[in-house]
């Protein structure tokens, strides 16, 4: 297996992009990444695209062909592959791209992620999200994805793993960083009180515990590590990509206060990278709901059970404040959550951090960065680790 490098990244602004189409944001992110890698585009020999549900959001299936065509890559007839894994679509697409280069099958690969959500009405968008849970026995019975995470939160509070204030402070942390990211949907800090007082979505979770509806796209360019220098001096090494699975429905698990897929994927990833959790100094985690942040920091091994909430509440997770900066991009909550794009956008953020190009949200001297992407209620999780060169 070959070592793999990330030589370019790009992303659109995240937000409600009424004037932009799916194809237009997808192409913008890809072109930025290709330009960042000092390529023309003709070098790309395979394309992976993370996308959860263009079929239901914009009534377009076969988006692999759409992107290959509008990016000009179909002129070389290169393979294009669309990847879907619920909220983890972007993370899984990145993993597929890394494997394609590591295996030697492909040399220069573009991994994109894109989602155009706002062409659909809000209620229908939620119904699409709910379909990442068990459509027959969860959403089919009147449960929503938010209510499933709410039941996790309720159980976490009941077992004394975190308080309501600690859970809410995950959103405060993401907004703190979102205010520093020009590409974020919400560039505004929010106080804890605002999160706690926000209108209920699925009690105990309110509006500010939930990631927003977002249009956006992100892309990264990969090549073999030994060839990276030919293109750029500013690249990072992919130290590990690992993936884990779990039951589709939450009811099929014994313990809903931990995601077994995150535990399994991170254990494998640390092993592949030859490091431990304490070597990571910046992490992008999948805070689709505030409670996810508590589970993530514990399941990834950064904090012991019962400690993650305190870290968020104390502000230890902010850039420059503690041993690990969490969601410097603003996370899903403040940067925005264009579902299939988020897993790739996380990789782009970690890459910028390790290159020292994260501007006001720069973590000093970061050697290793981690990204966690989650589908459904932890039914699919990817954990990727990048290393500064």
């Amino acid at each position: 297996m070959r070592d793999v490098a990330i030589i370019g990244v790009g992303a659109t602004k995240f937000g409600e992009l009424w004037d932009r189409s799916f194809r237009s944001i997808g192409i913008e992110a890809g072109m930025k990444a290709i330009e960042d890698a000092n390529l023309s585009g003709g070098e790309i020999d395979c394309l992976f695209i993370g996308n959860m549900s263009a079929g239901r959001f914009i009534n377009q299936q076969h988006i692999d062909a759409l992107i290959a065509d509008y990016s000009g890559m179909a002129t070389n007839n290169i393979p294009a592959v669309r990847v879907e894994a619920g909220g983890a679509s972007g993370g899984v697409a990145f993993g597929q791209g890394v494997m394609a280069v590591a295996s030697g099958v492909h040399d220069t690969v573009l991994v994109g992620g894109a989602e155009k959500m706002t062409d659909l009405d809000d209620t229908s968008i939620n119904t699409v999200m709910d379909a990442t849970a068990d459509a027959e026995w969860e959403s089919g019975m009147g449960l929503t994805l938010a209510s499933l995470y709410a039941m996790i939160a309720r159980r976490v509070m009941h077992e004394g793993m975190a308080t309501r204030e600690e859970i809410a402070s995950v959103a405060v942390n993401s907004h703190f960083h979102g205010a520093l990211n020009p590409g974020a949907q919400f560039r505004k800090e929010v106080p804890l009180e605002t999160v706690l007082r926000s209108g209920p979505v699925a009690e105990p979770l309110g509006m500010f515990d939930c990631a927003p509806i977002t249009d956006g796209a992100a892309a990264v360019v990969l090549c073999p590590l030994e060839e990276a220098k030919k293109h750029t001096d500013n690249y990072v090494r992919v130290a590990a990509v690992a993936q884990g699975s779990d039951t589709l429905a939450l009811s099929q698990r014994r313990d809903i206060t931990t995601f077994g897929a995150t535990v399994a994927a991170s254990k494998k990833a640390y092993e592949m990278a030859g490091i431990t959790a304490s070597d990571i100094s910046v992490a992008e985690i999948h805070d689709d709901f505030s409670i996810s942040g508590i589970l993530a920091l514990q399941d990834l091994g950064f904090y012991k059970r019962g400690e993650a909430g305190k870290a968020f509440l104390n502000g230890e997770t902010r850039v420059g404040a503690g041993r690990i900066a969490v969601n410097t991009s603003g996370g899903l909550k403040a940067r925005g959550y264009p579902i299939g794009a988020s897993g790739v956008a996380q990789i782009a953020e970690i890459t910028e951090q390790l290159r020292g190009k994260a501007d006001k949200r720069q973590v000093p001297n970061a050697k290793y960065g981690l990204a966690q992407s989650v589908g459904g209620t932890g039914s699919a999780v990817t954990v990727s680790i990048m290393e500064a060169i």
Partner: protein
């Protein structure tokens, strides 16, 4: 849900909480599975139909305010994960209850209720919901 066949084939689970039990290790599953994820091929042909007990207690719950269109007239409404008398977790709505009186550990039982309908002239879907046990 829009397919009549899709609804019809799930009647045993939706109406009677019929799941399966592994004839090899005794593990109970709801919804039913064609084989046991632990015993794998050793369980093939040994999965038995099993009706999950209708009594149980609330394991966790949520009050939904942001509801799917089919349930917008219900909101706010409660949903719960219920640990049945068999120790199986089952997810469903919790009705006929004062929303601020729900708590973890509260005894409940499953009853048959209307779940949804396919428009004014389509199929009406029924299934279990939970109510407080007296």
């Amino acid at each position: 849900m829009s397919s009549v066949a899709r609804a019809w084939r799930e009647y045993p689970g939706k109406y009677n909480l019929e799941g399966t039990r592994c004839g090899n290790c005794g593990m109970i599953f709801f919804p039913g599975r064609d084989f046991c994820p632990k015993c794998r091929r050793d369980s093939i042909g040994k999965m038995e139909k099993y009706r999950v007990r209708k009594d149980g207690e609330v394991f966790s719950f949520s009050i939904i305010h942001d509801a799917p269109a089919c349930n917008s007239f219900l909101k706010p409404y409660a949903v719960a994960m219920v640990k049945t008398g068999d120790g199986v977790l089952v997810e469903g709505q919790l009705v006929d209850v004062e929303l601020d009186k729900i708590s973890i550990g509260m005894p409940v039982r499953a009853v048959l209720r209307k779940l949804d309908e396919d428009g004014a002239s389509g199929v009406i879907h029924y299934g279990f919901k939970f109510v407080p046990a007296l």
